[in-house]
Symmetry: C2
């Protein structure tokens, strides 16, 4: 075999090569690169001393220490692997380090220090504002001036395939003014992408928007599960809390920004023009096709390029007050909706708050997929998926 | 010397013995216990093999692994030390392991996974609601039904004595509808206490309120620095973000719950009665005197017992949706105000939103102190202090 077999239509071409953490039965979690339907065992490869850095980092159960080596090293390692995989007979990679994906178990790829959730789709913010506030003033006054965001819960970020218990919480029953404690009846998904912070910053020192690319290691698919009824009662005045913190799911493979560079594109026009600290030159959005299926039915097709606020603006804003970021931090986009009903990224929007369809039922499986490009240039994220388990009995 | 000298009025009596992380010049951060004006070097003591558990945990730069040994071990270690310190000649502790506090540098005592901020003082919530909303309906409808809280930023939690840069951010100038980016002019403190989570819980499994005490390791003083003008513009609809995330300061010594047990007291009556999952038997508040000084002037005297929602209710609520907690997580109370103007725990309240006094000026030092009991039963927290540095120039 001179080349790794890559099935037609695979998300994981030689142009992609995302990083993740995997294990096989009886072995410890370690770093791998996905190629087609195989995982390249980087820890095993490292034992051949083929990397020109201390590749012991590949034996760790999270990617944080690898990412900490910096973009030059991580991009370099990926380029080396790209070369070896395309000329199997000549290079150090042998079939022994290529494990069939069916035999591996995937883990959370990074230790998440902090997780931040933004609200950067103008279509989503408008849809929500129209339903719950004045349709004439659906966007709040601050929305076009800054990328609105909030702190999420890091402990409950889980990897794709983790089953999700329906959460219970305080809910106001229809027609009542008093809450009851019961399982959520309005359980929803939110279609998001997240980026992984690739470099530590210093407390008290904002990251200038011109330097933000250095701090973005790669991207993931992100499902920000939401219990709308719990959220509705709790969220004033301090924002979402238990309506979100029961779980957030991420796809297992971090696609490095180097793989996504060919898909940079312009974003929507921003009116009014952002303040200077939020002005980024160049193409800062990404043309990534998104899809959501509930069980076998596709319920949403969207695209990351619809996002009004881009990742560079999110990061510049987040640190503009001196807040520091750390390697492994996740920053999620908020629900990525598009202009048409077929692009809505949550059941809240798709069902018009449950009036035209159901929220998630026990046993439902939500699967989100994402990819850019096609053929042997295709760079995909695989899937983030999760199945709803019944609420635990009290 | 048969007994460690403990200065009259010290917060750190034999009844206290809090845990912290310290270093001396040229040495690594490690665990210590504070006694009077000395720090007992637990890592040095451990090398004498006097503990009946693997005391290598005392050589780590955070207390998480020690806390993970469980309350039986950690309370047992503290009781052993208590015995040794009271009979210096007989036990293994010698003056060599007692370092004068003036010669040590204190560090953040735990690696904080997630930090949550509650809003549990009814006086504070009422004062804020009266200023910014309808004075007749100062409390929002959910407030008396659940301990309102939100996720804070873990990366910017710093130890006492860390200087605080005045943050910049988007602010609406008086009379304008458009934001400008400038240094905050309404920089404030918030007097809070926080508890440190002492046991991991499992995602999807709520902690029953009857078991919550097992999950609370100890308490800290907490200053939740706040930029009111940044917060005011950004916080709808997702809550506080950059108005808070530039820094939160904690006192260096974690006072274990065993030391605070004598000070348990009843809390304010709760009307309406909480839902069953929030009902805790017994005395669940703590009688801890609190004080805030700006420079040399005492601006607030309050007490932890004023809190409407107690720590057990906070933890039961936080996990009621299945959200997991991890050792080292911080849960802060929210500003602890009391019934009278002298008890207000923030300048927002003390100055009536800046109409009767100033917010913090560059060079101001805010010092919060806390203690329970008196004399040789005194259990104090020492101080959390921080000085405001000018905003960085853009």
């Amino acid at each position: 075999m001179n080349e790794v077999p890559i099935p037609r239509g695979s998300d994981f071409t030689l142009a992609n090569l995302p990083f993740g953490i995997f294990s096989t039965p009886g072995t410890c979690p370690r770093a791998g690169i996905r190629i087609g339907d195989h995982v390249l065992d980087l820890a095993a490869l490292a034992s051949k001393r083929v990397f020109d850095f201390d590749a012991e980092v590949f034996s760790r159960p999270v990617l944080n220490d690898f990412i900490a080596l910096g973009r030059e090293v991580t991009d370099g390692a990926r380029a080396q692997v790209q070369g070896w995989l395309s000329r199997l007979r000549e290079g150090p990679v042998s079939i022994a380090e290529l494990l069939p994906i069916g035999g591996v178990h995937m883990h959370l790829p990074v230790r998440v220090g902090d997780y931040t959730d933004f609200y950067s789709s103008i279509e989503h913010a408008t849809n929500v504002g129209r339903m719950f506030r004045d349709p004439e003033h659906a966007l709040l006054p601050n929305w076009r001036h800054l990328p609105v965001g909030y702190h999420g819960r890091a402990s409950s970020v889980v990897v794709s395939n983790t089953p999700i218990h329906r959460p219970s919480g305080q809910i106001i029953a229809q027609g009542s003014r008093l809450p009851v404690f019961q399982p959520s009846r309005r359980l929803d998904f939110e279609l998001e992408m997240a980026f992984v912070v690739g470099k530590d910053s210093t407390l008290g020192e904002p990251i200038d928007i011109s330097s933000t690319d250095e701090y973005i290691f790669g991207m993931l698919l992100f499902n920000d599960w939401s219990a709308r009824d719990i959220q509705h009662w709790e969220y004033v005045p301090l924002g979402p809390f238990l309506g979100k913190s029961f779980a957030s799911s991420v796809s297992p493979w971090i696609v490095p920004m180097a793989a996504l560079a060919p898909f940079r594109t312009s974003g929507p026009p921003q009116q009014p023009a952002p303040l200077p600290y939020l002005r980024a030159e160049g193409n800062n959005n990404y043309d990534i096709h998104l899809e959501v299926a509930v069980n076998e039915t596709i319920v949403c097709r969207s695209n990351t390029r619809y996002l009004y606020w881009n990742m560079r603006q999110q990061l510049a804003h987040h640190t503009s007050n001196g807040c520091n970021v750390r390697i492994g931090d996740l920053m999620a986009s908020g629900t990525i909706s598009g202009p048409d009903a077929g692009n809505f990224g949550s059941l809240l929007e798709i069902t018009e708050n449950g009036t035209k369809g159901n929220f998630l039922q026990d046993g439902d499986t939500v699967t989100m997929t994402a990819h850019a490009g096609e053929g042997d240039r295709r760079v995909g994220f695989g899937a983030v998926t999760g199945t709803i388990l019944p609420a635990r009995s009290a």
